[in-house]
């Protein structure tokens, strides 16, 4: 499958990755090769086969709604690149 510049651009947005011109060319090649390779699955007739996410039957797991942890704010902020007044600090998101 041929991967166009537009596709790589679009996937870059989805993946939140900024690729250099060189990286984009490589990514086009890699993705095209990989999609050709995984296209092998089309040989298989999977009509009527249910897609499987879990290999054995797991059911919804219910528990009583009891709070067992504290607010844990300090721990959660311990690794923040930037923080301010007990919150994560990020660049301005709207004017």
């Amino acid at each position: 499958m041929q991967i166009t510049d537009e596709t790589i651009e679009y996937v870059g947005i989805l993946a939140k990755l900024e690729l250099s011109k060189e990286e984009k060319e490589q990514a086009k090649k890699d993705m095209s090769n990989m999609l050709d390779y995984v296209g092998k699955l089309n040989e298989l007739d999977t009509d009527g086969v249910e897609p499987m996410s879990h290999t054995f039957s797991v059911h919804n797991v219910f528990r009583e709604d009891i709070v067992v942890n504290g607010d844990d704010r300090e721990n959660m902020l311990a690794n923040a690149p930037e923080k301010k007044d007990g919150a994560y600090k990020v660049p301005k998101t709207f004017e």
Partner: protein, 489 residues
Amino acid sequence: MDLSITAVELGKKIKDKEISVVEATTAFLDSIEAKEKDIHAFVTVDREGAIKRAEEVQKLIDGGTLTGPLAGVPVAIKDNMCIDGMLTTCSSKILSNFVPTFTATAVEKLQAAGAVIVGKANMDEFAMGSTTETSYYGETKNPWDLERVPGGSSGGSAAAVAAEEVPYALGSDTGGSIRQPAGFCGVTGIKPTYGRVSRYGLIAYGSSLDQIGPLAKDVTDCATVLEIICGKDDRDSTSVKEGGDDFTDALVDDVKGMKIGIPKDYFGKGLDAEVKEAVMAAAKALEAKGAVVEEFDLSLVEYAIPAYYIIASAEASSNLERFDGVKYGYRTEEFSDLHNMYKKTRSEGFGAEVKRRIMLGSFVLSSGYFDAYYMKALRTKALIKQAFDKAFEKYDVILGPVAPTTALKLGESLSDPIKMYLGDIYTVSVNLAGLPGISLPCGYDSKGLPIGLQLLGKHFDEKSIIRAAYAFEQTTEYKRPAFAVERGL
């Protein structure tokens, strides 16, 4: 002290007061210091913390609080498991400064059993790779031949055990990442049934495939470790309460009447002749002990890798969205706005293989391609699971190679990703089907490199593969790499 000792043997010596925990810990820390320049199995070594912990554990043993088989035994933890207060990088630049404030359940269980953690083992970045060459912190080398890879992604864990830098280690296995490096490094490793071990605190790669498991010098050690780390955990809702977890009870040299199937399709094109010979000889050895060995057609083998890479990449693209420079980890220096910060942080923080899989995963999940790729892969997964179910109606255990070859030369794999992915042909289907698998040495090729034997079992029937592996192990002798013998202390 003799560093070729197994974890269980060392635990016994500690219990019998033949050696103190501090002495044992110091001996292995010295071994690490002497060998790391050549092997580079660790991202982090915590000498000070380990010795302090050793002193505490000794008191708990002396006081009768700690009585388990691994109390006081040093261990290495793969660097994708969080440990409170210890740098946890996932071998990535993006987590180069991440010091967790909580501990993975499997690690917590080992600590409660008296483990002394000496450090964090190197791995492929975010466990994506089969050679440990994608680590941001540099490659790990195979103790059997320093010009070769240790396998991956738990290459640091496997190399550390083989080089006798630690008696045992924890690894994780998403598509073969415990079994293949165990095979390449001549040690034993178990990938448990999906759900057997809690994934809480394991930095996710492919959540529906990831499992934590042990790497050690023999089957006894692996069974002992697994018995400690397994069990249901409220913090991982995919972990389950399931019987058959008295794994050390399966350490019996008896396979009489055990039905073992050999998939013919595992022995076709691409399999190295010497690997084939050694694996078939292992089957013969089990047959000689009374197992009923038979060949059969498993089918669908060549579809496992394409299905795996679609599913694993899709899950990775979703799981790795959290690394955006806001809550933890690396943040880019300069940026114009929030989105630019995300993009620059991720582009600078992730390596090439990780980016490749995130891109592929984002693509197969995107609208217009979701059905053709992702859903198709999930349907294929269902068929693969069915093929195994059918096989396990007839057999207790499936036997085959771990990998098509022995350890490859450094630098041979990364240039051609698809070729590298093909090396996972015998391991990935096990993760897709959620089955348990064990890898153990079954011989050496003409270059002197270890060959791995893989045994697969039914869901939650680790005991059968442990029993078969143990029985086979009695017919072999553990071989130490020359590097470990020469550089022994």
